[in-house]
């Protein structure tokens, strides 16, 4: 019976990245995936003829350029295209457009609030300063602050040096920033509610926190620290949908010799003599390996896949209590034409990129209240993107598809389990809200896929449908992710590792978790490192 060097559970983009690097280093690697298709939450699927949805994740900015370059992902079919122009809508129908030049942006803000137009410079500068520091940690293994190993001490020194470089005042601000709410952070800068609400949206996406909840300021940063070709804060679309990213990484992995098996869901991890020894598939088949890497979230991994008796005391509890609350829904809508929105000029650069129905800080907080009470938001925050307006490959010419990310939608409803009827009602809530800003929108709909946290968990495997594989709050970040003492991708069972977004640096289609895990595995195997560093240290 064959024994692989490594088996990776889950063919999401991080699992595939991990496989690509292990295979590149010469390991005999197998990726097992429960679905019939690869990609996890970075996936493109044609559910209605001619329309290719990015079913889950829909835009990207965190993708590590160094990995894209190193794995030759362009040769494997990946082209990332920046998209432009998002319009934010307030409750009263007012709009704030994201113009492409600082001058147009300034003039617009000035018309709303001369104070805020000036404050925006300080805000962007402060965010860039914070982002710069965090960005440098993305493709690095977090140091263990309790360790005296030279590697950890060097890494701690690196972090300390970057931290002190902020300057005394900014260090205080920075520490404060990590525990603040997005709304309070924004109050420091702005007076106009629509400007604040527009910025605050990034603070709650994918998170079971409200705009006034402590910790949401960091989530905001997490969403603006990415870049496209060095333009920090910019977002891109993968040509052909987000699945193009997973497919390209899979292409690279296969070229290095990795094997990928679909329809091969893992039931249990095999442990022999206290060491990970392979997996048992749902159909009972056993596959052996010297190393097992889990790309599943921490909760799923340690409460469902690893047997409790194979774990040291406390880990099961930590995993059970891992904060991975589902809070978002996703509605993918195929449209027979480009929707038009009230109060948006017919400017091709701004009327087709994205729409953020933010309402106001108050509306966003009320939306969170619904979630807390086990209901989907009646007046939710919706972030829409129309990928087909930029990518000619994902819808027939002249027709479009719209990705609607909905905050909030609970994994369990207070009045009983999710049903098809309730799911449809949730979908209608979204459509009704968009129709308010875009009369005639409903008539354009030719197909709709509605995904509540229930579907996201059932199809993708993310516990509670949490898109980040665990919340991005300070108690679960850096050397605390997923659990204190286990942040360096090595898990409590010997020869077992984790490589998904439950590990540092967290959620987002970045490939960083998978690459960092590969580097640690190769280190343990005493093999030369093949994982690149980020390429912007001279930024």
């Amino acid at each position: 019976m064959k024994t692989y060097d490594a088996i990776i559970m889950g063919a999401g983009h991080n699992g595939l990245t991990n496989a690509a690097y292990l295979a590149k280093a010469g390991l005999d690697v197998l990726v097992v995936e429960k679905n019939a298709y690869i990609g996890g939450a970075a996936v493109s699927r044609e559910l209605h003829t001619g329309f290719t949805y990015s079913n889950c994740s829909y835009v990207c900015s965190m993708m590590r350029q160094a990995i894209h370059r190193d794995l030759n992902l362009t040769r494997h079919g990946l082209v990332l295209v920046p998209y432009l122009g998002t319009v934010s809508f307030s409750d009263d129908g007012g709009t704030l457009v994201s113009y492409h030049t600082a001058e147009a942006e300034y003039n617009q803000l000035r018309a709303r609030s001369p104070h805020d137009a000036d404050a925006m410079f300080r805000f962007q500068t402060d965010l860039a300063r914070y982002a710069q520091l965090i960005r440098k940690t993305l493709l690095r293994t977090p140091p263990d602050p309790t360790s005296f190993k030279p590697r950890d001490i060097m890494e701690l020194l690196f972090l300390a040096k970057e931290f002190w470089a902020l300057g005394e005042q900014e260090i205080y601000e920075y520490v404060r920033f990590f525990t603040m709410s997005a709304a309070e952070f924004l109050d420091d800068y702005f007076e106009d509610d629509l400007i604040k609400a527009t910025m605050a949206g990034a603070g709650i996406i994918g998170t079971a926190l409200g705009v006034y909840s402590p910790g949401s300021a960091y989530i905001l940063l997490h969403h603006v620290m990415g870049d496209v070709d060095g333009n920090i804060g910019a977002w891109g679309l993968a040509r052909g949908g987000m699945g193009a990213i997973s497919n390209a990484i899979a292409g690279a992995a296969r070229e290095f010799g990795a094997e990928i098996r679909t329809n091969a869901g893992v039931d249990k991890m095999l442990v022999r003599d206290g060491k990970a020894a392979g997996v048992v598939l749902e159909n009972g088949e056993e596959i052996y390996s010297r190393i097992v890497v889990s790309n599943l979230d921490a909760k799923r991994t340690f409460t469902k896949i690893v047997d409790r008796k194979d774990l040291p005391p406390g880990i099961y509890e930590k995993a059970s209590n891992f904060k991975i609350r589902g809070s978002s829904g996703k509605v993918n809508i195929a449209l027979s034409g480009l929707p038009k929105f009230n109060n948006v000029p017919d400017n091709r650069y701004i009327n087709r990129g994205g729409q953020a129905f933010v309402g106001s800080l108050e509306t966003m907080e009320r939306a969170y209240d619904c979630w807390k009470r086990g209901r989907w938001s009646e007046d939710p925050f919706i972030e829409c993107v129309i990928p087909s307006a930029w990518d000619p490959t994902v819808a027939p010419p002249g027709q479009h598809w719209m990705s609607c990310f909905v905050q909030y939608c609970p994994p369990q409803l207070a009045d009983g389990p999710w049903t098809a009827k309730k799911r449809n009602q949730f979908g209608q809530t979204i459509v009704n809200k968009i129709e308010r800003y875009s009369p005639g929108f409903k008539d354009l709909i030719v197909h709709m896929e509605v995904r509540t946290p229930h579907e996201i968990e059932a199809e993708v495997g993310l516990t509670e449908g949490n898109i980040f594989q665990g919340e991005l709050t300070i108690d679960q970040l850096l050397f605390n992710r997923p659990f204190p003492g286990y942040a360096q991708y090595r898990m409590p069972v010997k020869n077992m590792y984790m490589c998904g977004s439950s590990t540092h640096p967290g959620g987002g289609v970045s490939s960083a978790c998978g690459a960092n895990a590969a580097r640690e595995i190769l280190y343990d195997l005493k093999r030369p490192n093949v994982v690149p560093q980020d390429d912007f240290y001279d930024e």
Binding site: Q65, H68, P82, H100, G230, D538
Partner: protein, 398 residues
């Protein structure tokens, strides 16, 4: 009566497409080419570059020089002028050529269109009428006409271009092979389409009489509305052509007739254009000098580099040691390639040092402070960007 413009003589000419292009030039980012006002970019250079790679985009080539050379001696004259064998060129085909001085230094590069048995069109970047006239000495049966102001050209590049042209009603356009030419009736005249371009991607060049230019623009933009059509200018062109590995006058080569300093111009061998020089031809301008050059080997060689890091090596010197004491060449064009995700450059390196390590000394600014770094360069044999769709007939679906 309106007062005459006292600055009229200072102002640039307008291209036949100017009314449409001016309306879309939101940034008023104008440059010039051969006396014509010409966009550097319209909205955002990188966006326009992505339209070339992702959807489709138009580039005004009216300022490019076009000459019609006709008569029974036309073919012989061109064959003597350029280094490539023009007699092999078939009707309704285009070929890329360069031409040299007697000393074998490059005057310019361009394309020759064979429009009929005795009728050719030569296109090139710089005005060349005087040189063409010199090249006609000894030939009686030909005329050279500058048609730059009467023939409008619009380059149309990108993966969705073929679909847009089909939608515009150009029957069988998908059967047009690279470097092929097709003619279509258009309005009161005709439209010539060549499958040519300067982007390394799928693309076409559309040619009409200037009075039909705006009608062509409108028809194309109507058809392209749902295919992401966008005009682009010099900035995006320069990005696309560098990824494709195409040379640019004033960047990779200095036109011989405009070169003051001895050997600051280039030979085709230095520019990697050996494949354009056909010594089987008994005679052509610069033949004997180029024979010697081939024997001796070029002093410099144009190479493609993939450079570590993400800082473009613009204007960098190249060295064969990391301490940067032994200089071996210089970068001619450099950029971060957004599609390939690589830091790319074209560079001239002393031929005898090819095969050794190459280091670039890169300067960049960070909030008013100058920084420098030394980056390792890797020689790249193939163009940075060469998608199969650019060569395939019919082009694959986008």
């Amino acid at each position: 009566m309106t007062k005459s413009d006292p600055f009229a003589g200072e102002r640039l000419k307008h291209s036949p497409f100017h009314p449409r292009q001016a309306a879309l030039n939101l940034r008023n980012a104008w440059s010039s080419w051969n006396g014509t006002q010409f966009a550097d970019y319209y909205y955002d250079a990188e966006y326009e570059y992505f339209c070339i790679r992702n959807s489709c985009a138009t580039y005004d080539i009216c300022p490019m020089q076009k000459y019609e050379i006709s008569g029974t001696d036309a073919e012989a004259m061109l064959d003597r002028m350029v280094t490539r064998d023009v007699t092999k060129l078939k009707e309704n085909r285009v070929t890329y050529v360069c031409w040299c001085t007697d000393a074998g230094r490059m005057v310019d590069d361009g394309t020759i269109f064979k429009l009929g048995p005795d009728r050719f069109m030569l296109t090139c970047g710089s005005p060349s009428l005087a040189w063409l006239r010199k090249c006609t000495y000894g030939y009686k049966h030909l005329t050279v006409t500058d048609i730059s102001d009467t023939l409008a050209g619009l380059s149309f590049q990108g993966p969705t271009t073929c679909e847009v042209l089909k939608k515009m009603g150009l029957m069988d356009i998908e059967t047009l092979k690279p470097f092929g030419i097709m003619h279509f009736p258009f309005g009161s005249g005709s439209l010539m389409v060549s499958r040519t371009g300067f982007t390394g991607d799928l693309g076409y060049e559309l040619w009409v009489q200037t009075d039909l230019a705006l009608a062509l623009w409108d028809a194309l933009y109507d058809a392209g509305e749902d295919y992401g059509i966008q005009p682009y200018g010099e900035a995006a062109t320069n990005m696309a052509r560098l990824e494709a590995g195409f040379i640019m006058p004033g960047m990779e080569f200095n036109e011989a007739l405009k070169t003051v300093h001895f050997h600051h111009d280039q030979t085709p061998f230095e520019l990697g254009l050996d494949w354009l020089v056909d010594f089987k031809k008994a005679r052509f301008n610069g033949r004997s000098a180029l024979l010697i050059e081939r024997e001796r080997g070029p002093e410099y060689t144009l190479i493609k580099l993939d450079i570590e890091g993400n800082k473009p090596a613009e204007g960098s010197y190249l060295y064969r040691n990391k301490r940067c004491t032994k200089q071996i060449g210089y970068v001619t064009s450099a950029m971060w390639s957004p599609v390939v995700k690589a830091n790319i450059a074209l560079a001239m390196v002393k031929t005898k040092h090819l095969g050794e390590n190459i280091w670039a000394e890169i300067y960049y600014e960070k909030e008013l402070r100058q920084n420098s770094k030394v980056a390792k360069c890797t020689l790249q044999k193939k163009p940075f960007w060469a998608p199969p769709r650019a060569r395939a007939t019919p082009p694959q679906p986008f």
